[in-house]
Subunit: 439 residues, 2 copies
């Protein structure tokens, strides 16, 4: 980019490379202090913050966009070990705040109502911790792209306006589509299966929608789903292998690119073991009951059981991840492939569905899918779903769909667990929940 400026822009991160030199910084007035004869300005740019000092400066309100020209000097007490001594006339306001921000951006802990924080999200996201979380998510998603492409996956873009839900009729947002009833997609599930017939290995990064009425710390009504599906597999073990190596690549990417953000947030990047432990659900329930005397409700794992099972594996193997496999049919959607019995026949009760737990919470559901048309039709009927509403999808299974499977990761939930963010809403820029449609 050509610039009409005499000095190129320097980023605060690079100040140490310019000791004794004149630089030009741009950013926001993060913090300010006026001692009368001397003014301190902390400038925040996308790479960090820099302490700047000068005189005869009329400091604007915090968060104003500013440009500072001055000389870099080593200064032990300044962030990063350097400060900028502002030239005479070297403090320029690019765009002044018209009022003080509703939250004190430089504060690292904000003692306000969490809902108020979300109301002010359009400006509180400028906080160092807030933006660090979203930057980690951005890098995480990019590593997802990069690794999968290197493994021969093709990215797809599938409709979010659909005529029927992938998981049945529950929890769907309804939409008027030119007079027809439509829904927002809960998942690209059946579309990504179709696309296995086209590209064999596919992935998608896109929002999905769940009209869940209840508010929890782990659910969002709109979230970014990282979806993967692959064909020509032998079993769901192949799918778990892909996810395991994907997670390894993502964590390596974060170690290289996000060390500062993890340090700022006091979080650690997990090691992915050579083989993530895999335990069948029924054994997992038994283990939790035997070891922790926790009676597991339902047919799945309840949140406490997820926590205890993770604790067990962290303590006994060091792994912060564990795959829970062979879910019972009653706990999985209609398209899940049955498990095979020892004699090679199909199980009536168990499936090739799995979950992945990380630090005590499920971050993935996945499994092998049904790829045979008659088996799929039988399952749709058994689940009391409408075969006609699903015809546009199920038709594809007439045409030689290979054995396939896949999984999905909620980007915000994984980000939250990685960074120790207690509520998943803070791992999304502008979360949508039961009561929140703005900003």
């Amino acid at each position: 980019m050509t610039s009409p400026h005499s000095l190129p822009r320097t980023f605060t991160r690079d100040l140490h490379q310019h000791d004794g030199e004149r630089v030009r910084l741009q950013g926001f007035l993060h913090a300010r202090r006026d001692l009368g004869g001397v003014q301190f300005a902390v400038l925040r740019d996308v790479t960090g913050i820099a302490q700047c000092v000068g005189s005869a400066i009329t400091l604007p309100l915090p968060e104003s966009s500013i440009e500072i020209t001055g000389t870099v000097k080593a200064h032990k007490k300044a962030p990063g070990g350097f400060e900028v001594q502002i030239d005479e006339g070297g403090f320029k306001v690019l765009s002044a705040s018209t009022e003080a921000p509703p939250v004190e951006i430089p504060k690292m802990e904000w003692n306000v109502n969490p809902e108020t924080m979300l109301d002010y999200r359009y400006v509180s996201l400028r906080g160092l911790r807030e933006r660090a979380a979203l930057r980690v998510q951005s890098e995480l998603v990019y590593a997802f792209h990069t690794y999968l492409r290197a493994q021969g996956f093709t990215e797809i873009s599938t409709p979010k306006i659909v005529s029927a839900g992938a998981e049945g009729g529950a929890n769907l947002f309804k939409l008027d589509y030119f007079g027809e009833q439509a829904y927002l997609a809960q998942s690209p599930q059946l579309y990504k299966q179709i696309m296995v017939g086209v590209f064999e290995r596919v992935y998608e990064v896109a929002p999905v929608y769940r009209a869940e009425e209840h508010a929890t710390s782990r659910h969002l009504n709109e979230y970014l789903s990282l979806d993967v599906e692959l064909g020509f597999i032998d079993s769901e073990e192949d799918v778990m292998n892909v996810e395991q190596e994907l997670l390894r690549a993502v964590m390596e990417h974060l170690k290289v690119n996000c060390a500062a953000e993890f340090e700022l947030l006091g979080a650690t990047i997990p090691d992915v073991p050579a083989q993530i432990p895999r335990i069948p659900l029924l054994e997992a329930r038994q283990l939790v009951t035997d070891k922790y005397q926790h009676q597991v409700g339902g047919k799945d794992l309840d949140p406490e059981a997820e926590r205890l099972l993770s604790q067990h594996y962290a303590e006994t193997t060091g792994s912060e991840f564990v795959f829970v496999t062979k879910y019972p049919r009653a706990a999985r959607p209609f398209y899940t492939h049955a498990d095979h019995n020892a004699d090679g026949t199909l199980s009536d009760t168990l499936t090739r569905g799995f979950d992945l737990l990380f630090r005590g919470i499920e971050i993935t559901s996945g499994g092998q899918r049904i790829h045979e048309y008659q088996m799929l039709l039988a399952s749709i009927t058994a689940y009391n779903m409408n075969p006609e509403a699903l015809a546009g999808y199920s038709e594809v299974f007439k045409f030689g769909m290979p054995p396939h499977g896949g999984f999905a990761i909620g980007a915000e939930r994984l980000t939250a667990k990685l960074l120790g963010i207690a509520n998943v809403r803070y791992a999304r820029a502008f979360p949508r929940d039961r009561h929140r449609l703005t900003p």
Copy 2:
């Protein structure tokens, strides 16, 4: 991935590397011919097709998933110059089609009703031309990610369920959000502007929604928008510079990664000139009138004027791209920054909005945005929009937003123009239009 198979899988693209060797292929039965004593099978995998020949094989229906083990032999008439001589017992059906596909996948030109083709999209996408178009789009989008990240942009994920439209109330899909009226986002416009305050340079790859009633060959009701926004600019020229270099990087990526797809589709990858021509709209209208005697309607360029202006620049400069700049206020949304008059005052009539034309059609709208709160409020009022409905966005402009601008590219429209696809619906896997909600 561990494999229980004795031979690793070979892709059809790599057959020439295995002359005389035994290989194991997996894929779909693309075409078949049974001459009694000898059977021909064309296997299609994600990388291409391979001719295979054997005997005593009962060929399944087309599109069945198959696995073939055999020996590679040079064969001049086979695709790629090699065929596979199938082992005795080396033809295995992984998953049989239960009926013949509704379209003949191997045909390169399908003489059926275009709507019928879209009805069968879940299987017609397996066609070599169909999937080539989507693969080009996937590479195009990946190049968009890669280039922008290298330039310091951060990817964001913004809500698609919103309380108000970015461009006003028209063409919005309405949604019931837990009893509240909500809309599907037409654009991440105001969210990406907010995020400039957080990360300075941002981009998003996500679907957007336009409830346009009219059917044209260039519009979709749901499309993939490639959105870019950057702060600390001097003018919209900086924005156009970013887009120009982005397009150069994308085209270079396609040259390296998609040469086969362009060849298959008979399309050429454009060169991006060192400087894409830039012409103010009013001059462009005059030029088209003077040179082609075309009276341009409205305040913008009509489709014929876009075509003629592109033709002019292609003929006189060789550029297939042209920026049309300084759009009048009446033709741009409320957040567009006014142009500066020669004396430095703001123009009442012209803006810093621009379009980019490529091969006769607009593929981008962009511009510098208003960054001052009072100017934005005045503009919202002048456009007869509701300041309260936009408060969640406009509030951010109280807090020192730097001068900024951006643009958006419709992925499908750019793909279609690159590949010579006449109707943009065929540049999307599962298009949504006025009458189409399935598959």
